[in-house]
Structure formats: C-alpha cells, structure tokens
Symmetry: C2
Subunit: 371 residues, 2 copies
C-alpha cells in the first residue's frame, strides 16, 4: 500500500487549494485542466483535456486511484463512464445529480422530511404558488445565474417560452439571512460538519462569510448541522458538500447544495484544525475524517472580486503593513470585473475588528478605497 | 507591478513547504533541483541542474525576480555570481557566510557582544580549553555531523591530522536543554521573532519540538528573542533564520545558526498566524512581515524518521482515527533508516496530551510500536 493518486476534473481555485493538503499528506495529485494557464494548472501537475469528452476524462481517470471534480458542469454521462471503467469517482453519479439538478434535490429533501420551501415544477400551466416567486433553471446555474424573481404570470410565461423545459418554482421567502454548513462524509459513512457560516450576499454573490454565525441560537446551530448530516447520509455523499439554508423567522429552509469544496468553507484553511480541502481528500480516500474544531472564536472571509485595479500584488505593501494577521489567497486569475480572483481571511476573538479589517482589505484590493 | 517570481536553489522538503504560501500569495515559484524526483520537484515547477555550477545557477536565477536557497551547501562563489549578475539573492553572500562557516559565526557573535561559549581556532597547537571539549568542522556539518566530543589531546591530534585545516574548538557546556528561536528580517530592516522553541535532541538529531519552551522564564524567553534579533541585524539577515541556543544554568549561550526555514520552525505552519515559510517569502520580497502570534497555547512537532516501516500511508488509517486533530506532513522521500521523511504537529492547550500524541504518532509511523 503506497500513497494513492487523486485526480481532479477541473483546474480552478478549488483544485488549486486542494493541492495543498495533498502535498502535505503525500498524496499524488493531478488536475484535468482546460488549459495550462488555469488556476490549478499553474501550480501542480496537469493533463489538458475537455471535461465533456468521456474518452479523454476516462483516460485521465485511469492514471488515478480516485477521481473527484471541482465544478458541477461535468456531464452525468461522463461520470458514469468513469464508474463503468471501474475507477473510484466521488461524489458518485447517483449523489452528484443532487448538486446538478435542483428539481432532483427538492424531491430528495422532501423524501427525507427536510425543510424545503414550498416548490413545484413548472411546465407551462398556472402556478399554485403566489407571485412574486422564484424561478430556477434546474441545471447549470450558480452565483445567482439561472435564478429569477418572477413578479407576475407574464414574466413566467416569457421565461418558459425562452427555456422550453421544466422550471423549478419556489416560494419567495422573507428570510433574515443565509447560512451555509459544510459537511463531509466518507464511503464508510463517517460524517462531520463544521460550525455554520453566515454568507453575506450582494447581488446574489457571496461577498463575505462569518463563522460561526453570530447570534444564531445554539438550537438552530445544531439543527443546521443536523440537516446537513441528514442530507449527506440521504444522498450517500462522499466528499464535502455545502448546504445553503435560509433563516426564515425561527426556522431553517434549505436553499441549495454544492457537492464540492465551497466558497463558504474557505475560512476553514486558517480557521479550523482541518480545512474543507484536506477533509475532502480524507473523505474520498476513505481516511478517517479530521477535527472540524475552530482554532479561534471567529473566522471572517472576504472574497476579492475584480474591480478597477488590475495589480493585485502592490496592495500587499499597504495591507500587510496595516494588518500583519491577514491571510491572503490569490487564485492566479486575470482580473475581470466581478470575477472571484482571491480571498482574504482573518481569525480572532474580536468580531467587529475582524469584519472591519476584511471589509477594508477587500475594498482596498478592488480599488474602491485607496488608503 | 505584477506578481514576482521566486526561485529556490534546492528542492528538499523546505522548498516543498515554501511552495504552499507562494501559491496562496500568488507568487510564481520554481525550484532548481538535482532531479525530477526531489521532494519539491514532485509538486511544483522545477529546473534540473547542479547547484555547484554557477553558470547553470545564474541561468536559472535570471528567470526569477528573487532567488533564495534551502540548504547551506551552495558555494559562496555561486552566490556571488548571482549577485554579480545583478539578481536579488537572499540571504546575501555576506550574510550567508555565517551559516556556512562556524568560525566566522563565532567571530561575529563575539563582535556583537552576544553570548558565545568559550571558543578558539585550532591549528595544531595545544588548546587552552580544557578537555573534554567540542571540536567542529567550520563548514559542511549539520544534524550532528562534523561535530565531535574530544576527550584528550590524542583524539584532537588525530582529528586534526585527518582534517588538516583549522577546526573550531568550543567548551563542552553542561546545559539543561537546547532551544531555537526563529527570526525573520526584511531588506528594510523590519524584523520579527516567534516564541522560543524547545528542541528535543536524540543522538544530535532533533526528534521533537515544543513551542513555547515550557518553564522558560519570561526574562529568558525575551532574552532569547533579543539575541536572535541582534544577530539578524548584526549579519544583515534577509529571510528567516534559526538561532539555536543552550540554556546553561540561568543564561543562554549561542550554539548554531541556520539562515533558512528550519526544522525547529515547522510547528509554525499550524501553530502561528504566519508560518516560517510564508515569512521567508515576505522577507525576501521585502513585503511587510506577518504576525508571529500563536493560534494555540502550545504547538508540539515530531519528526518522522525512517524506521522499519516503509509504508507511510497505511498508518494514517489508525492515527487519524485515534486523533482527528493531528497534522501530517510527508516529504515524498524514500524511507531510509534515520532519514527525516516527514513530521507531525498538534496544537492545543494540554501540553502533556500533545506530547503523548506526537510521541505515539512518531513511534507508530516508524514501526517502533504497532497500536
């Protein structure tokens, strides 16, 4: 028994951050990339190919002991080809469908008795949900794309006329805030969650996170983790998953699932004993899971979104001098407006100070402020 | 101003661990390796060459914005050729001599008024120091190699007859224990130390470390850091350096210097806000230094030395299940008896428990115990 090799389909920042614990643990690591300049391909071994081409993907998978992926775009048919070739791939095609198809996800959560919003499948008839409502394309959407607030029947008919396939409709919830729970599960069924994370959203994109969620009652914090664990078991998850939920009044409602390391878990690199990236590797390799305990009272993460500035290095001079405790992460991506190009994290006991420092760093990096 | 490129001469585990913060910070990173299978070459971009060949090294350096090294073996003449070519190389040849030549180090520490043991240069005459004494080859020794306990004049004469060049003699100190202070300094003169580390030695090799040093008085802890800072300034250090000291009675005596990331600073990867590896990058890039604050009361590190077991992966199954909070580091090296092939770290508040867990993990990995 020697060190196994893990292959990752996709070479974005998630694969880039997965490379770190692989190196630490001595796990061989290679990514299947679209180009040599992709975020992860810059810093680790890679093979170039098209993730929609099952022949290329299976050829790559055959060089690995376990295969995983870092985005939802890889077709079901390709995952099934890897499975047919007898290669371990996690999450499995049967689990991954719940990350790829929001209608399947709603059905499964309902079957598990877990708190969905009211929902229905729209195929052209009048909806039973009242307007305004939320319409979602079942597949392909993320970061707010493929999600629409629909105010009346005309808008719904227009959307359906464009899409021409079933649309998921959900009640528009009046929620206090959105949280995310990262959960990990191994093939043997061992599972673990980190504390719930507050995800602060701007225009449907997560701009910062706070862990644990401030002011969330202990009861709801435990309930959030229980929901995440129930879904993990209920879909036979292997790997890590983000379960995004809304706090509506005094109860939680499931919003979305992402069966992979997730932006809402980036804080765990510095804020927890075991990061989501190391945990994902442990899970897919069926190693015992690591401790999810935090190493500080709070961890605050801010996403660096492309802005006016294109030089992301020079800001280090000012920001590192101002706050020697900030952790910087650059993904090696070209700066484009609104694109996630990196993140910053701070851990400590003074939440107000942490939030101020992260907000300042994000604004300074983007060019929104200049001191 | 875009992200700079750092080149490292040498591709052992130190270069491998340097690659991680380079990736996080977006710094381009390449190593100059002796082979494609060297520890760091396995996980990052590399060029193959001979570090004694100044032409090859300078050609590599010309592709980089800043060059550093991870071992003491690179000849002074090669470092000077890099400098002559107008390429930034840290530590500079003028600083690095104090890491490479123990006689030069003693002279400088004396000139700085810092606590040396009694010492003299032996060139064949009778020593003024009493026996037993310590004889050291000025260059090339590490991990106890090149260091001899000399009991009488015959042994000294035999050694000198073999070496045929000046030998450093030092009084044999009756010390309580050995500590190490990691210190960082940037070209602008900003400097920072981490808390002092107890280095537990077996047969001249560091087997484990505890940070901060238990039972060291606050006065001595501060004095240890002051000595490290004084040396850093006194040799115009740029980068990180380990200053190893003995506690003799109630005072500290300088033992050795290593001008690079060092085994005694490995704990900082998980135990401090800024690791020695990130700090080394910040220092050589003249970026503001990071916080050296610890994230837990104690950090205990144990070196994995090659033993009877050759499979370093299978032990994960038992050790990760036993203690989900252990951090594993494998260097991707072939197991050979006594060779440093990895390390384990645990952080927390209960020092006794941390020590027990690290001792157990090290013994289990090596095969000394089987449960």
């Amino acid at each position: 028994m020697s060190f196994p090799k893990v292959g990752v389909i996709g070479a974005g920042q998630l694969a880039r951050m997965l490379a770190v614990p692989a190196n630490y643990l001595g796990i061989e690591f290679e990514v299947f990339s679209q180009s040599a300049t992709d975020s992860a391909a810059q810093i680790c071994n890679f093979v170039i190919g098209d993730y929609r081409n099952s022949e290329e993907v299976v050829a790559f998978a055959k060089m690995c002991d376990v295969v995983t992926f870092e985005h939802e775009l890889i077709p079901q048919s390709v995952i099934k080809e890897i499975e047919k070739a007898g290669i371990k791939v996690y999450p499995s095609s049967e689990s991954f469908i719940f990350s790829q198809n929001k209608i399947e996800m709603r059905k499964r959560c309902e079957a598990l008795g877990l708190p969905n919003p009211r929902w229905e499948i729209h195929t052209g008839e009048n909806p039973s949900l009242e307007f305004p409502l939320i319409a979602k394309l079942p597949m392909g959407g993320y970061d707010g794309r493929g999600v629409y607030v629909i105010s009346n029947i005309d808008e719904l008919e227009n959307l359906y006329a464009t899409i021409k396939s079933p649309i998921l409709l959900e009640e528009k919830l009046d929620f206090s805030y959105e949280i995310s729970v990262m959960v990990a599960r191994s093939p043997h069924g061992q599972a673990a969650t980190w504390p719930a994370t507050l995800t602060v959203q701007t225009d449907g994109i997560c701009t910062s996170t706070i862990t644990p969620v401030p002011d969330l009652s202990e009861e709801l914090a435990i309930q959030a983790q229980s929901i995440a664990l129930a879904i993990a078991a209920g879909i036979s998850l292997v790997g890590v998953m983000a379960v995004e939920m809304f706090l509506v009044g005094d109860h939680l409602v499931i919003n979305e699932l992402a069966l992979r390391p997730h932006n809402s878990g980036h804080w765990s690199i510095e804020g927890a004993i075991t990061s989501q990236f190391e945990q994902h590797l442990r899970a897919i390799l069926d190693l015992p899971l690591g401790s999810t305990a935090m190493v500080a009272d709070y961890a605050v993460m801010g996403n660096l979104l492309g802005g006016d500035k294109s030089d992301m290095y020079r800001p280090y001079l000012h920001l590192m001098a101002r706050n020697p405790a900030l952790h910087f992460h650059q993904y090696g991506k070209e700066v484009r407006p609104g694109r996630k190009i990196g993140h910053v994290t701070a851990i400590g006991a003074d939440l107000l100070e942490l939030r101020n420092e992260i907000e300042h760093a994000v604004d300074y990096m983007s060019g929104a402020i200049d001191e």
